[in-house]
């Protein structure tokens, strides 16, 4: 949908700090959403971590590959927050619903329904995973982080991530009723 609210940025003089981080905001939002599973909570986490980056601006400027570094900070922040307040914010499910209605109007109806249904099924199968499995499958299989990157971001050995991923995928294949490749192999071979 077209943005008619450019004025948020227009009247603020461009800021070095913002200029440095802006290109990463979209991807950080995705990671934040994958971790929190809620639009509002993801935005909160994003605001929180950006505020946290602010005093470290000089340090940030020197980092060559910001993307994984930022993702790791976001992840750590998320874990810290979880520990600090074991609160689980009440889901404002309406938020997402409204946004979906608003955003999806360009998709062809048939494709839209098909996609929405599959999305729904995937959400359900994701909900059956434990938190660790969910995170790794979302960040690896959905967001495209490599295992090496994730090992760094999450502070977890590659081997552990691999087995979480393996279990997560098996569980998802099962709940999505998709034949696992090894079953197929056993049948054929």
């Amino acid at each position: 949908m077209a943005n008619i609210l450019d004025f948020f940025s227009k009247n603020n003089s461009p800021d070095e700090f913002e200029a440095l981080l802006k290109p990463h905001v979209g991807h950080l939002y995705r990671v934040a959403y994958r971790l929190t599973n809620q639009v509002e909570a993801a935005e909160d986490l994003l605001q929180d971590v950006i505020l946290h980056f602010y005093p470290k601006y000089q340090e940030l400027k020197k980092i060559e590959n910001l993307k994984p570094w930022l993702a790791r900070s976001l992840y750590n922040r998320f874990i810290d927050n979880l520990r600090k307040n074991k609160r689980n914010p009440v889901t404002d499910a309406m938020d997402d619903t409204i946004l979906n209605i608003v955003e999806d109007h360009n998709v062809e109806p048939e494709r839209e329904t098909e996609q929405a249904l599959m999305n729904q099924r995937i959400n359900e199968s994701l909900n059956k995973l434990n938190e660790d499995q969910r995170q790794v499958v979302m960040l690896h299989d959905m967001e495209g982080y490599t295992l090496t990157e994730l090992a760094d971001i999450m502070g977890t050995p590659v081997g552990t991530l691999k087995s979480r991923l393996h279990r997560a995928r098996n569980s998802m294949r099962e709940s999505l009723a998709m034949e696992p490749s090894d079953t197929l192999m056993r049948v054929k071979g």
Binding site: V25, I122, T146
Partner: protein, 221 residues
């Protein structure tokens, strides 16, 4: 390489975790062994399904909101209470969708929708403007009463900006917060050429610590 080994290494192959030599061996086997090829295709298909999983798109202005807690240049000397209060209240944020179909339609808005704000709690007002054809240069203006603050624009009660409207739905997502318990009106105006379209939104303010969830749709106006 036999099929059993292939099977155990298929995931590493797809995850690009194999050494180059192993990777090549794998590729060669998959091209000549039917059952392994099928297993590989199945797995690819599954991965594709996962890749296509979508997440909700945040309301427009997310990039700007991401920096909401960071002090602005002009405000760095004294931390702005509004910005801080605004971000803190975001978790409790509520969206209100105002679908305003219109534009060249001469009929005017007949009913004034209203929303209820809780004092000091920000609320996102989502206005959708359905435009029959693209407008390259429209002027938008927003007017809010003095006790209503627009996120990131504290102290400003009238804002005007130029924008392009695309054909179809255009979203204006406006986080606002009330600082006093008086009701008031938000006025949005779109000007294009000699046409002016005005939208009014009544704002009722409550003092209770209770958010309200509501969707307001203004039909064709």
């Amino acid at each position: 390489m036999n099929c059993k080994i292939i099977l155990t290494e298929l995931h590493d192959f797809l995850d690009d975790e194999l050494k180059p030599a192993q990777h090549e061996q794998m590729r060669a086997h998959l091209s000549e062994c039917d059952s392994c090829h099928q297993a590989w295709q199945k797995e690819l298909q599954f991965r594709q399904v996962l890749k296509e999983h979508t997440i909700p798109v945040p309301a427009l202005g997310m990039e700007e909101r991401a920096f909401a807690k960071v002090p602005r240049k002009a405000e760095r000397s004294h931390k702005n209470a509004f910005v801080a209060g605004f971000s803190g209240a975001m978790a409790a944020g509520v969206m209100i969708l105002i679908a305003a179909a219109m534009f060249f339609n001469p009929v005017t808005q007949t009913t004034v929708p209203n929303i209820t704000l809780t004092m000091h709690q920000s609320k996102k007002v989502q206005m959708v403007f359905d435009v029959p054809e693209m407008v390259a240069n429209a002027t938008f203006s927003l007017k809010v009463p003095s006790h209503i603050q627009i996120a990131g624009k504290s102290g400003l009660h009238q804002i005007e900006w130029q924008t392009a409207l695309k054909k179809g739905k255009n979203l204006l997502s406006l986080p606002i917060v009330a600082t006093a318990a008086n009701s008031g009106e938000l006025i949005a105006e779109i000007r294009y050429g000699d046409q002016v379209k005005t939208f009014r939104l009544k704002l009722d303010i409550q003092t209770m610590e209770q958010g309200q969830l509501g969707i307001i749709k203004v039909g064709v106006v």
